[in-house]
Symmetry: C2
Subunit: 451 residues, 2 copies
């Protein structure tokens, strides 16, 4: 290899291409897609399941690059230092969290939903993390923040944020969800969207201190069976947590996805109980007390209980069972304009019990199932990604996914869940989410159609 191998054709291609005048840009986008991409199922099978994309109708050489692309790079770009804290592309301005206005009476107690139709991969950017507030967002000065740990402990303490950060820390990826996720499927046409049905779920890489590390230091007294977590929430959403969870994997987290928690997520410190209901994971934490019994506070008595078929209410439903949802296609990201042929279904799965072991996909509303491919790390109590390649015959379908976790538990169908739990329960609705795909590619929420 030496410099005489230099091939000027390539680096001068910008000029070459600019001379060309092709018609690609004038073509309607969907028409381009339909014409330009044909998916060869035979080849896909030969590749062991990978999808095949061919380019019929094109002669790809530099002369075929559309003229507008040839223009890129002909002038200086923007300065890179104008946003010390960067922002998304202007073309992604519609990738935002949304509220469902009628859901709550005012905007102090509301929900802001993660747009899973637009999320790629497993973690949610902090700017798109779902938010459930009961009394608005509290702004706390981290230098003023204090955490008192007392009750049945040998050495009660008041910690500053700097104290907390001097304990050994851990960094782990976990999903985070409200138990009301998927609770409103049959309540109105505004919920014909994966953002509404599954947007009370997010996933982050958290950094903080395991509670057992602190408790090994300050000592638990005999009879410390429960922990009460108190935040600085105007609605006082405190909760009782059994000591077994505290000593298993509970964390006091101060960072998510590399930076400080956001105020809406509990800045500067929140409780994290991986795989458990979000409502227990107290934001703006200021006090932890240990005692021999639960406190039976409002959020444990009047809400976050499960009304059983016999009229009793079951309390303390903490853990999220295995769950999943298809995000491509979905009502917001449909297949209108697509023709029969190879297609890719993609989605997310998670379990509060540990790792998701496998995910199945149905195309016929749950009659038959086929295994999907997991395309991300199988991290425990985390969102993972799956994909499923198949040959669409162009007829209406009913697509859905079900996950099985490492305990062997498999996500139920809607019918199975209703048979098991009755019709009055609200929380922990982890039934298979079915999307109806019509022949023209429109996608709708089946639960709404049935309502």
């Amino acid at each position: 290899m030496n410099n005489s191998d230099y091939v000027p054709e390539v680096t001068s291609s910008i000029g070459e291409v600019a001379e060309q005048s092709q018609t690609l840009l004038q073509e309607e986008r969907r028409d381009f897609l339909k014409r330009g991409v044909s998916l060869s199922v035979g080849a896909a099978a030969a590749m062991g399941g990978a999808m095949s994309v061919s380019a019929e109708g094109f002669k790809p050489d530099p002369a075929n690059l559309p003229p507008h692309i040839a223009k890129w790079g002909k002038s200086w770009g923007r300065d890179a230092n104008t946003h010390p804290y960067g922002i998304p592309s202007k073309y992604e301005a519609n990738v935002v969290r949304r509220i469902v206005p009628w859901l709550t009476a005012d905007q102090k107690a509301t929900v802001v939903f993660t747009p899973w139709q637009d999320i790629e991969g497993t973690v949610t950017p902090n700017g798109l993390h779902f938010v459930r507030t009961h009394g608005g967002v509290v702004d706390i000065n981290p230098l003023e923040w204090r955490l008192m740990i007392h009750g049945r402990v040998d050495r009660p303490v008041i910690l500053t944020l700097e104290d907390l950060k001097r304990y050994p820390s851990v960094t782990r990826q976990h999903f985070f969800s409200c138990p009301a996720n998927s609770a409103m499927e049959s309540r109105g046409p505004g919920l014909d969207s994966v953002q509404a049905t599954h947007g009370m779920l997010s996933c982050s890489v958290y950094t903080g201190v395991e509670l057992k590390t602190i408790l090994e230091d300050i000592g638990l007294k005999e009879g410390a069976k429960w922990m009460f977590s108190e935040g600085s929430d105007p609605a006082s959403v405190g909760r009782s947590v059994p000591i077994e969870k505290v000593l298993d994997d509970a964390m006091l987290v101060y960072a998510m996805n590399g930076e400080a928690l956001r105020p809406e997520n509990g800045y500067p410190v929140r409780l994290l109980l991986p795989g458990w209901e979000g409502v227990l994971q107290t934001k703006w934490l200021r006090r932890l007390k240990f005692d021999d019994k639960a406190w039976w506070v409002r959020e444990e008595n009047t809400k976050y209980t499960e009304l059983l078929p016999d009229g009793h209410a079951k309390m303390f439903n903490w853990v999220f069972e295995s769950d999943s949802v298809i995000t491509t296609p979905c009502p917001e990201r449909d297949w209108q304009g697509m023709k029969a042929g190879p297609m890719k279904i993609a989605g997310i799965a998670w379990s509060g019990r540990g790792k998701v072991e496998h995910v199945d996909v149905t195309l016929d509303g749950g009659k038959t199932w086929k295994e999907a491919t997991i395309t991300s790390e199988k991290l425990p109590k985390s969102v993972i990604r799956f994909e499923f390649l198949f040959d669409w015959d162009g007829k209406p379908m009913m697509v859905g996914s079900r996950s099985t976790d490492e305990t062997g538990y498999t996500q139920p169908t809607e019918q199975e869940l209703l048979e098991q739990k009755g019709t009055e329960f609200i929380y922990h609705r982890n039934a298979v989410q079915l999307w109806e795909v019509s022949a023209n590619g429109e996608v709708h929420n089946v639960q709404i159609r049935n309502a």
Copy 2:
């Protein structure tokens, strides 16, 4: 358990605490920290290395919560739906990327540095990802974007973004770095900062399509030994990539940390070569060509080469060897005001060869080393976290870290690197970064002191 166990004392504590008037807030913060937290090394040893924090001088009960904390939650918080795309706390406004103004002649070709002194955990938020531009930031409409793949392939194609997303995808966490990271340590007092010495490094969870998936589909012709990647960069920073890397783990990525790439990172699609120099990982990708030899373009001839002691320049230095740096303490996050006693050192490590196997820490400038604890998943070609607990005698120290990867390679000291590579090389400076800690807790970059 029944409702008669309800303990009203806890939920009414906000009122109780508000009655109290303690003096915590009036105390100077560092004085509080010094007085309030004493670290018991004996206890730490008994805990198997965990740090012990006791609370001498306090009687933590609700009456001891500072009065300003008691006020939190007494009024409604902010509405949660005012930021559809959320932003950090106002108290984190100084956590931003920074430029080193004298580094480049203008702001089209510049570097914006990741603030590792403020990053917790492993991934960097997209808003804090470092940026190196050669001709400014290009804004591309994703509907107009096209990628041509041609040259020695059986079936050349022009892909739309939608085409690309229909291939099977993968989601993986990888570090991303400029080969000039750490290149400027001895060049001026403005670099007495970990943001300057190691801020050309970031780490993200990427989503995209492996190039081998596409090449299995369209077919590589015999003699396809190199790939040329062309972006829409005004500076035309194209590069030649050997086919072995292309077929190993190269990806075309369209998302990082759950959302679309940012324009400054190559939106809508960039090349990703995990563990390799950032400059090869073409942004705003628009063309890939396969041929039997490298192209020897400008960035391969005149830059990104390594000047050897004998005057020859070594080309094609692609892979980052194992590296690490201590982020706590560092010049920006020092230990001023801290006294002798147990301390926690924390930092990051990475290797382009695969997994970091272990990290050692020195307190005496490299004379002796002790193994640190890895506190995150050991993901390959990713930033990982380490921590080291020790008992500081209050005397000056010279702290540093060195990582060893799964190939057995250990990061060299500055002296070893200079002996091996001479004094004229710029890129791939992965020597042990030493921070000098004075008795009063100030922290400085040793390389600058030696300059």
